[in-house]
């Protein structure tokens, strides 16, 4: 009974952010639901092995991310990139122009970012995890987390800026 209550409390606390993370990766409601359910199924069967209760969140996000990678059947390890080639002058994307977009447009743009950077970028915007926790979730060193985030953010902003320019051009031609 107590385990049931505890399970329900963990679900209540984390199912929303986990679903949001899953949806940002898969961009499909059914896939995101499956990933979220799969994560809690693994939690129900293996969660008792976790000894540190402060790690529940990291554990769940790690499990979901692994499930996502498995679902994509990716067997090649991602290469590590360093931060040195990341452009510092990001495209001139304004908060006002972002506010005019809806969530699906931003997620569509995220889908065009190199896949290797998508999970770090999602966690950058979605969750309040520390960089150490994100490194644990993605199972990569903190330096790699930061370099992937920086590159991913640059790509995302570039894609959004391009979309904004094209939108302007189309309106102008009309």
């Amino acid at each position: 009974m107590a385990a049931g209550v505890e399970f329900e409390s963990v679900v209540a606390r984390f199912y929303e952010p986990l679903y949001q993370f899953a949806f940002s990766l898969s961009r499909a409601e059914a896939d995101a639901c499956d990933l979220t359910q799969q994560t809690f199924y693994v939690w129900a069967t293996k969660g008792h092995q976790l000894r540190d209760p402060t790690k529940v969140k990291t554990w769940l996000f790690t499990t979901l991310h692994r499930a996502f990678l498995e679902s994509r059947r990716r067997q090649v390890r991602f290469p590590h990139y360093e931060l040195d080639e990341v452009p510092l002058d990001l495209p001139t994307l304004s908060p006002a122009s972002v506010n005019q977009l809806d969530s699906s447009q931003v997620l569509h743009a995220l889908g065009q970012v190199d896949e290797i950077y998508q999970a770090p970028v999602s966690l950058f915007y979605l969750e309040d995890c520390s960089y150490k926790e994100i490194a644990e979730i993605l199972a990569i060193p903190i330096g790699t987390v930061k370099s992937r985030m920086a590159r991913g953010i640059a790509q995302l902003q570039e894609i959004l800026t391009r979309g904004e320019r094209e939108g302007h051009r189309e309106r102008h031609n009309d």
Binding site: G4, F7, E8, V11, A12, R13, Y15, E16, Y19, Q20, F23, S24, E29, C33, T36, Q37, F40, Y41, A44, T45, H48, L83, V86, L88, L90, L93, S94, P95, A96, V98, N99, L101, D102, S103, Q105, V106, L107, S122, F124, Y125, L126, D128, S130, Y131, K146, M149, A150, I153, L156, Q157
Partner: protein
């Protein structure tokens, strides 16, 4: 440290998160404070982060997902023998934990209300990402309730009347939930800013020295004027970069009812 190095570090800074306490950002943040060009760049960065974060946070969860997850779990029940073994293990662990607690028991350190107020004020000044940009107080309350955050608060009538809601976010301090509601006071907003008046609501037990009275206590904290009071089991801090007279337009000097 050059401007480019500062930008390289702070492009990964997330306002309104634990990054404010991360030593990796501390030096770069300090640089920003004393350099107008960097400060302006940093404000743009924070505003853009907040705008994009709010789009990610708008991903809505399908209705019934939680119930489905819980129902699925009930289908996959653990065999009886496994439950017996697990229960025996759990009892053994519980006994060991209890013994550990007994042997290392120390009086709990009090949480300081001044530290709470300074942390929240710092968050408002440094920048934060609103979870939603709702501008309707009822909608904000509904949103917070859906997030299982603190939503049973009572707003001072002056605040409801004189300030315009701009959104909210859910955060925490020392494990205690905090609902932050952002308002516009009516003054011109600085570039990239979406609000200039912030209300933090938390549990009365957030700190042992939290205000006990419903009469607001005004105090200047790190350049912010704050008013703090408690009604029922909720403790409130209203903050703005202003003087007491200005803040008094939004909260009465007498008891908040």
């Amino acid at each position: 440290m050059t401007n480019e190095q500062v930008k390289e570090i702070l492009q990964l800074y997330r306002p309104g998160t634990a990054d404010a306490l991360d030593p990796a950002f501390a030096e770069a943040l300090e640089f920003c404070e004393h350099n107008a060009v960097l400060k302006s760049w940093f404000e743009s960065h924070c505003a853009l982060y907040s705008a994009l974060r709010s789009k990610f946070k708008q991903i809505s969860v399908p209705e019934g997902l939680k119930e489905q997850i819980i129902a699925e779990r009930r289908v996959h029940t653990t065999p009886v023998w496994q439950r017996v073994v697990l229960a025996a293990g759990a009892v053994a662990v519980a006994i060991m934990v209890l013994l550990q607690i007994q042997s290392h028991r120390r009086p709990e350190e009090p949480h300081d209300f001044t530290a709470y107020r300074a942390y929240m004020g710092g968050m408002a000044v440094r920048g934060y990402g609103m979870d939603t940009n709702l501008t309707d107080l009822d909608a904000i309350r509904t949103y917070l309730a859906q997030r299982r955050a603190i939503a049973d608060y009572v707003l001072p009538p002056e605040l409801r009347k004189n300030a315009k809601p701009a959104g909210c976010l859910v955060t925490s301090w020392e494990g205690k939930d905090v609902s932050m509601i952002c308002f516009q006071s009516g003054r011109p907003l600085a570039p990239g800013k979406e609000s200039d008046l912030w209300l933090f609501i938390t549990q009365r037990t957030v700190a042992k020295d939290a205000p006990a009275a419903s009469t607001p206590k005004f105090e200047k904290v790190n350049g912010l004027m704050t008013a703090s009071w408690t009604v029922g089991n909720r403790t409130y801090v209203l903050a703005a970069q202003a003087d007491q007279q200005f803040l008094g337009k939004f909260v009465p000097e007498k008891a908040v009812l």
